[in-house]
Symmetry: C2
Subunit: 493 residues, 2 copies
């Protein structure tokens, strides 16, 4: 424990202070000596390693291969795709190399990677010749730098963050578009099956889409304070980047074609979402699948004469848990009280506490305490391995189930402006609302209410052309004109 005290802010009273304390005292991450940049501490990095392992196990069998592209991107490359350049340039940090460096005028200014579309397209253009060489499906795990000037929030908004970025090139549009949704499905599995954060899927509006994309699909989670958190995006970029960078191939008829291009990304901000959703006033609560320590065994005794029997029983229990494949830690420290340890491991989010006292030794049992609910149960020492495994599985599924219930309670279908404002201002959560589809109305609504369009659910008109062509479906909650589609609205991180 890096701090002796517990968390002083209440989640219900001061969500923002509570969050920072939960992350820091849960040893997940901390501020650093570098403004806007965080340190991902071992507890937090372990969660990220599990995300890496889980997602790799989905994308690699699907045919994606990991690679690594340069951190630095020449300014001329970044300028090649106009929309993209306009979208990213304000946030780009630049370098001109070392003090000795190049001779004057020899080198151009280099961007520190804010995202890698430009550098990857420029390289892949040299790899592809024929349709037989497609698809090229690449992914890289790396950090990116975006020169945010807003307040830093650990995991949620930092200048540097860790992510993966997938970049795939296809001969045909249908295969490319199928991948966009397949990847989004993988992301949903990471969010829900690994991190216990339920998400809703859909498509971004024209003004919220990725700079340079034809369209952006996304998943969004709802935080307890009523603000949505974007959890991952999967874009179809059409042929724009391929045109700008010359990613061409000969089709079976020996005609030159441009490759269709997808990119998709997910980042460490997911860890922030996990904290917000599952943490409580005692600290963070980690789903068993991403907890480095899944169970902590704590021996409890009051007299020296009890020590040997209790500690010896605790060691046996820890060995059985480990044999059952559980990542277990035995805390036999004598300079800390059991109560201190309880608080400490609750703050660190350890999913299961296993207590053993003199009476438990007599009865050949252990006390199991769940981090997520605080619920206590007894397990015979003999079957502790299977019992604890089953309980950890239950904790994992219960955490998701409870979060799903909450998401459902925080999702409102509205049809009038009054209902809409009530959700945004009082109820807090997603308002699924009729919308005219106009970017001007979208902007004005956001300025007035703080709520932006988070996504248009699949199956509804999404691109500006589709929206324009759609038949009316009610009255827009923003401007009152005829609605042409439906959107999820809410405040957002």
């Amino acid at each position: 424990m890096s701090e002796e005290e517990g968390i002083t802010a209440k989640k219900a009273d001061n969500f923002s202070d509570w969050y920072v304390q939960a992350v820091r005292k849960g040893d997940l991450a901390d501020y650093s000596a570098v403004k806007g940049c965080m340190v991902v501490k071992p507890n937090g990095y372990y969660v990220w390693e599990r995300v890496q392992e889980f997602l790799n196990a989905l994308i690699k069998p699907d045919g994606v291969r990991n690679a690594y592209f340069p951190l630095l991107i020449p300014e001329s490359l970044l300028r090649k795709e106009a929309d993209h350049f306009a979208g990213f340039t304000p946030e780009v940090a630049w370098t001109s190399g070392s003090d000795k460096g190049e001779k004057e005028g020899e080198g151009e200014r280099l961007a520190i990677r804010p995202t890698s579309e430009t550098i990857i397209c420029s390289e892949v253009a040299g790899w592809v010749r024929s349709h037989r060489g497609l698809p090229v499906r690449l992914n890289q795990w790396c950090s990116v730098l975006r020169w945010e000037t807003k307040t830093t929030r650990l995991f949620l908004r930092t200048r540097e963050f860790l992510w993966q970025e997938g970049h795939t090139f296809w001969a045909g549009k249908p295969e490319a578009e199928a991948e966009v949704l397949r990847i989004l499905g993988f992301y949903k599995m990471v969010a829900e099956d690994l991190l216990c954060v339920p998400v809703v899927l859909g498509q971004k509006s024209e003004s919220e889409k990725f700079a340079g994309a034809e369209y952006t699909t996304c998943m969004e989670a709802m935080m307890p304070d009523g603000r949505a958190l974007q959890f991952g995006t999967s874009h179809h970029l059409g042929q724009g980047f391929s045109r700008a960078f010359g990613v061409k191939f000969l089709d079976p008829d020996n005609k030159e074609k441009l490759a269709y291009y997808n990119t998709w990304g997910s980042s460490t901000r997911m860890i922030g979402g996990l904290v917000m959703l599952h943490g409580d006033d005692r600290g963070i609560a980690l789903p068993p699948k991403v907890a480095e320590t899944q169970a902590v065994v704590i021996p409890i005794y009051f007299k020296d004469s009890q020590k040997e029997a209790v500690v010896s029983a605790a060691m046996k229990v820890a060995a059985r848990l480990s044999d059952a494949g559980i990542r277990v830690q035995l805390d036999g420290r004598t300079d800390k009280t059991p109560g201190w340890k309880f608080n400490n491991y609750e703050m660190l989010g350890v999913p299961l506490r296993v207590e053993i006292g003199p009476r438990d030794v007599e009865k050949d049992q252990t006390v199991l305490v769940r981090r997520d609910t605080g619920e206590k149960s007894f397990a015979p020492a003999a079957s502790i391995g299977t019992d604890a495994s089953a309980l950890l599985d239950r904790i994992q599924s219960d955490m998701l189930a409870r979060a799903r219930e909450r998401l459902s309670r925080m999702t409102f279908t509205v049809s009038t402006k009054k209902e809409f404002l009530d959700v945004v201002e009082n109820q807090k959560g997603f308002a699924i609302a009729p919308w005219c589809g106009s970017p001007e109305c979208e902007k004005e609504t956001q300025e007035k209410t703080g709520a932006s369009t988070r996504m248009i659910p699949f199956g509804k008109p999404a691109s500006s052309a589709e929206i324009a062509a759609a038949a009316p479906s009610g009255t827009c909650v923003g401007c009152g004109l005829p609605a042409k589609t439906v959107a999820y609205f809410s405040r957002a991180y």
Copy 2:
């Protein structure tokens, strides 16, 4: 295959050209649009992922935890340890953020991480309070940037490269020093048991040690052209950084002490060593443990009437190899000849080729061809799984054994200047030679012969104090004065 042609340079005639072609046509890495920076392509990144997995499986059970620290380091932090700053500054690339960025004078210049001692010490100083909180043992997998002005060589010298850097803090010097050697032992396992590159271990001379270290231990491999390649280093940094950054703790007597500090690193340059040592005129040769495709199955038929039987047998064989846990690929393409495929997979370094022709189908057998030796053998189709597994194991151990023999042939113990010059100029390899220990002699010897001290074998006087105190042991091969220790000399990458 990214290029249709094979490798045009001969390893024996033009080693340097051969190397670049082998790396590029083996699809391991390539130059990029960014001067001095490389792209690590999927074939090469797969090797790096196996290194990560292998080393993680050694260091994590030993108690090291992975984490992530900022890419950017404020100049003031970098300046705090004087020797370190002097050693690294010329190679540091700087950024001042984005164009909009901070207001004038608000922010200081930031270094793009050349190595992370300064940022990690500055953070860990805030984590440690008592001896009970030690050791703190961290590792990060990341890229570093060093603004090289010499010619770029893929994997061997690039401005950006991938590495891991371990940073560990200890209450006592003996435990810290024990770790230095334990990690060096882990590195040796990576080099030899995974990559089939034998290494020699020892300590760097005073002038070759890491900037800011008390001493540097290292492992060095010998390349076929007679130049040594540093394969990994493990440093003990004493208390200098802890003093500069305030990494202090209360010992059991409540006295404030400074932590002892180790750092250790290994990088993607190991992949370059693997290529140089095991590649041949046909391309790279990957050890089975790091090859994404361990075996490729190639059906061979001359008439259409043979096709069905051959392809069907090839598919069964591929399935059996996969069932045996072998990473297998079946190349049934009809637009490439078997001969083209043979060349292609040899260029890509696939350890084992499995051929199946009409006659093999009749005899219910397959032809196995080793990439490392070209040796052919037959295996019954029924036992192909176990036979191929055993053969892959043998390839792995034979590759190391042959490299060990070569290292031994390229290592010479010399006692006179004449013998020394003969090794350095004609024989090529390591000269183990008596040395006076003086940095001036070391420098002059390097200037005159191109050979630098690679290391002082363990057990010999190594620090300047030890060397000064040592009894004479022959005549220094550099200056002719009485020798006080023994060193490995050679040219180096």
